[in-house]
């Protein structure tokens, strides 16, 4: 590499507020791979919740706020398939009628990458190290899988991890039932869909289910923890750390710490 790759983090509202450790893991991971990371502080949320509920004008206002924040970024890396999809696939349309920002939105769409895609397709990284040991399974987030057409990058990274056994999740491509506001508009239906997902996760015998979207993680971990299951839902970034890096290890939830997790974590 002639010059270090620079990447701006768009950590998403869920990671910022609820899963900051995912953001920290991402920073450690990317730095370990030689990427210069920055974090523009005026970011809030990509506006996807507004867009999906039909509030397009409001979502466009948010897009107008977000696009200039990243105008100087070489790459924008997002730890969420749905937020990356929003920026890549919807921002250009939302700002189409804006002569100035419309072009910027298109340029931003091209420079924005979901984390697993950034690692594998931009950096060309397929092998990283982890301190995690044991069996894991992978859930395809709907927007990453069907919105961005990505099913391989995460699996490549996970299956190349030493000490980790990746087992396929039955119905991996089926929705976990989150769906943003859907999860509270129709909580019973959402939970019932989640029930199937959790049953499938448990069938794999994995100690950990990995996903690339904080929305799915919130839904799956919410159901697993309510059930008292020892299985944990983790973001891909939490599982990976690069050579020389020291990604913080996820701490098991208190009620599960005494449980018999299929996959044990060990200090690096």
């Amino acid at each position: 590499m002639t010059h270090p790759i620079r990447a701006s983090l768009l950590v998403t509202c869920l990671v910022d507020l609820f899963y900051p450790e995912v953001g920290v893991a991402m920073v450690t991971l990317l730095r370990g791979l030689g990427v210069t990371v920055d974090f523009p502080p005026s970011q809030t949320c990509c506006g996807l919740p507004l867009f999906n509920s039909g509030y397009q004008d409001e979502a466009a206002r948010v897009a107008r706020h977000v696009v200039p924040i990243f105008s100087a970024s070489e790459h924008v890396v997002v730890p969420s398939g749905s937020c990356a999809w929003m920026i890549k696939k919807e921002y250009p349309g939302l700002l189409r009628d804006d002569p100035a920002l419309g072009k910027d939105a298109e340029a931003l769409a091209d420079r924005t990458h979901e984390l697993s895609q950034f690692l594998v397709k931009v950096l060309g990284v397929t092998h990283v190290k982890t301190a995690f040991r044991g069996r894991v399974t992978y859930h395809d987030s709907c927007h990453l899988l069907r919105g961005l057409g990505e099913s391989q990058s995460s699996r490549t990274l996970l299956s190349n991890l030493e000490g980790v056994e990746l087992v396929e999740l039955p119905g991996a491509d089926e929705c976990c039932g989150f769906g943003g506001s859907f999860s509270v508009r129709l909580p019973e239906v959402s939970t019932s869909i989640l029930g199937k997902k959790i049953a499938n996760i448990e069938k794999t015998g994995a100690g950990c289910v990995v996903a690339c979207d904080a929305g799915c993680l919130m839904q799956m971990s919410g159901g697993l923890s309510r059930k008292g299951s020892p299985v944990r839902a983790l973001h891909l970034a939490q599982l990976l750390y690069s050579e020389g890096g020291s990604a913080p290890l996820p701490t098991p939830p208190p009620e599960a710490s005494a449980g018999k997790a299929g996959g044990r974590t060990r200090a690096a």
């Binding site: 953001g23 974090f39 970011q43 069907r146 929705c175 769906g179 129709l186 239906v189």
Partner: protein
Amino acid sequence: MSNQASTKPFAERAAVALRDTFLQEALTIATTKFIGLRKDSFAGFPQGEALRDRARAIKEATLQRLDDYLERLADNVERLGGHVHWATTGDEARETILRLCRDRRVKMAVKSKSMATEEIELNDALEQAGVVPVETDLGEYIIQLAHEKPSHIIAPAIHKTKGQVADLFSREVGQRLPADPEVLTAVARKELRQKFLQADMGITGANFAVADTGTIVLVTNEGNGRMVTSLPRIHVAVMGIEKVIPSMTDLMVFLAILARSATGQKLSVYTTLVRGPRQAREVEGPEEFHLILMDNGRSRQIAGELREALYCLRCGACLNVCPVYRQIGGHAYGHTYPGPIGILLTAMLKGDRAVKELAHASSLCGACHEVCPVRIDIPRMLIELRHRLDRERIAPLAERLVFKTFRRLLTSPALFRLSVALGRVAQRPFVRNGRLRSLPLVFAKWTRTRDLPPVATQTFTQRWKGLR
């Protein structure tokens, strides 16, 4: 009808379905089977993807010149000696059929499975007019005996177990029958044979109508469609105007993907092509053939945002993969067309207000878009529909205010940080072992069944300062 009562809110209807363990089992088994069959069928059919694109393009182009194709279809049907009736509304379509029944002293009508006739609730109208309607598709026959409506576009009795069917049939024939599908099918077959011979009229829908040749195409698996179109002296076909396709070549494209999408079959067991009434040199077929071209709200969608929904082939693939449909089944939707495409069709036929709640009955997972043979972007149109609910002020005021306030927070980092800080304070009494297990107000909708992580003591924005 018992299952169609849409007076209860959708969420309640859904909750009832979720508690029905028979329904849950039946849905899981059937949809899982359909998903697998479809997948295998396309896996061994590499040209399928290109044919799907082609089919979509045909639908797109046909709708742009719909009136030309409909006129050509009508001309050809009349040239063959058939009668064509134009119906602007569902009422008109129903009235046309009732008038035919009156004028021709029809006492009994046998029917082949048709969603178009469900759409206009034809069976009720026939009964009230003193005509006995007899559904001859096995699934439709079952739900007619149960006085229910179809709960799936191609598998109307998908919600029934074989035990429930045995009970229904036992009551009908007045003797106790075993819950054995072969025995039950044989009973239905025997019952229906008589009806085919007695009926004065056969009523069908149309999967396709070929403009160039005046051919009505029926795609079925039981052979009943063939009986309905050939034994009674009158055949009436009811079709939505969007079902017309230009040519027989186009038909081949659709036939190659329709059954694969629906049941994973290369072709359905029967593909019935009907051209007008019995011709002079023919030995079988009806004396009269009537084609009803029904608009019922379709044409005003041609230039609208939901136009793609008019491409729908009614294969039901989007129902089978929909996580919501798979949990609640078709009746909970409360309208003729269930599932993701059903929400769009209902909005189209009954207006946006009718789908105020249903527009949100999707997690937007995109599975429907992925399997649709003509690649209808259902999630995109559901979002569009939600947008219209806001624009037309059909969405509740409180919801609209919440989202508009939310927008303000998201475009003002200072306000956003402030509300995060407030949230962190407000959640304090509810944090147990690093989890939120029970929250009041709207948040209870989440925490009743799931834990929630609390707002972090230090957000990433705050932690970044130490990471720089």
